[in-house]
């Protein structure tokens, strides 16, 4: 049931080779899909170009719902990449998992809290960077004591809470989905009857996991834009 992670030490850092592999695969898939679908661009879009233009407009809608396009336009590419990457990551662990010699190799990279928290920290870090860049150090610092000075500790806690919840929400949803898939596949499927009995809940849960994966990718991007907007917009 419980599989070992392929941990390796390298230059004083611990690498989970399974994560490294899956991150690379997810990135490659996103890159290949994106490049292939934008090879033959036309003024009159067809097929896959339509889909990607829809994705762009979708992310644009997310950004527009949280901030001015004048401020938010610079996050467009970040948003598209985030939503595509997280969606592909979430999907990777769904069809199967591969274990070799008792170690787990194929899974969703987002089923690891370290990965999701890295993304979350990156997003929050970016929000601070753009907060300072767009509003100046003074305005940025003043935001911490608004609307009342004694809210400063809460504001400080908020930053860490944002990071934690952003990362752990994604991790929790995907990890739970994979756990349940594992349970269904591993515990229920013991023999021919068990296989047959497991098929229907497996199908149902995989379908639901696709939905959850898409929703989580959307929520992650949405919250990214909310946090960024919170830092960069002037009107509050």
């Amino acid at each position: 049931m419980h599989h070992e992670a392929p941990l390796r030490e390298f230059m004083g850092l611990t690498f989970n080779l399974s994560n490294v592999l899956m991150i690379t695969i997810a990135s490659l898939i996103v890159f290949i899909i994106a490049v292939l679908s934008t090879r033959s661009l036309a003024m009159k879009p067809t097929g896959i170009q339509n889909f990607f233009e829809w994705v762009m407009d979708f992310v644009k809608g997310i950004i527009n719902s949280t901030m001015d396009w004048k401020d938010g336009g610079r996050f467009h590419i970040l948003g598209i990449t985030l939503i595509m990457y997280i969606f592909v990551c979430n999907m990777l662990g769904l069809p199967f998992g591969i274990t070799y010699d008792g170690t787990l190799w194929w899974k969703s990279p987002t089923a690891d809290p370290v990965i999701t928290l890295t993304l979350a920290t990156m997003v929050v870090g970016l929000s601070h960077y753009y907060g300072v860049k767009l509003k100046g150090v003074k305005e940025y610092g003043r935001d911490f004591v608004r609307p009342m000075w004694f809210l400063f500790p809460l504001k400080l806690i908020e930053e860490f809470a944002n990071t934690l919840t952003l990362g752990l929400r994604l991790y929790g949803n995907i990890y739970a989905g994979e756990i349940l898939l594992t349970l269904l596949a591993g515990s229920l499927a013991t023999g021919v009857g068990g296989h047959l009995a497991a098929v229907i809940p497996m199908l149902a849960w995989q379908g639901f996991s696709i939905f959850v994966g898409a929703i989580q990718a959307f929520i992650f991007t949405m919250l990214t834009m909310v946090y960024l907007a919170h830092k960069v917009s002037h009107d509050h």
Binding site: L7, I23, T81
Partner: protein
Amino acid sequence: MLTSSLVLGAAGGGFNSGDILFQLVTFIILLALLKKFAWGPLMGIMKQREEHIAGEISAAEQSRGEAKQLLEEQRTLLKEARTEAQGLIENAKKQGDVQREEIMALARAEADRLKESAKLEIEQQKEQAVAAIREQVASLSVLIASKVIEKELTAADQEKLINEYIQEAGEGR
């Protein structure tokens, strides 16, 4: 069992600090590559289309305005042409009337002149004829008279006649 080798498991324990770095670097590389190769061109074409559409709309508006102006121009031209044609027809009619009057007057005058000259000629002919007849009558009467005289006049009578004539001629003077 096949399924048990294909199942998912929980993530392993231990803090895998290297993954953080790897994820971060990979994501940034992915971001940069996608910006250069996928999203950049896609955004470019979307922007290009936006501009194209905007341009087309303004061009359509412009050409619509032009068409409207042209239509107005054509309408005025048509109206002008119609009035002009009306005027031309009127003029032609008037001119025709005038010409008809002229021609008729001319014809009448010609006819009068012809009638007059014909009358004159007829008169002349009549006079000539009358003169000729009169001449013939005179000569005939002389002839007849001479014939009568030849037959009945004697020398005594002739003498007497001559004397009478002489007498008469002397008294007349």
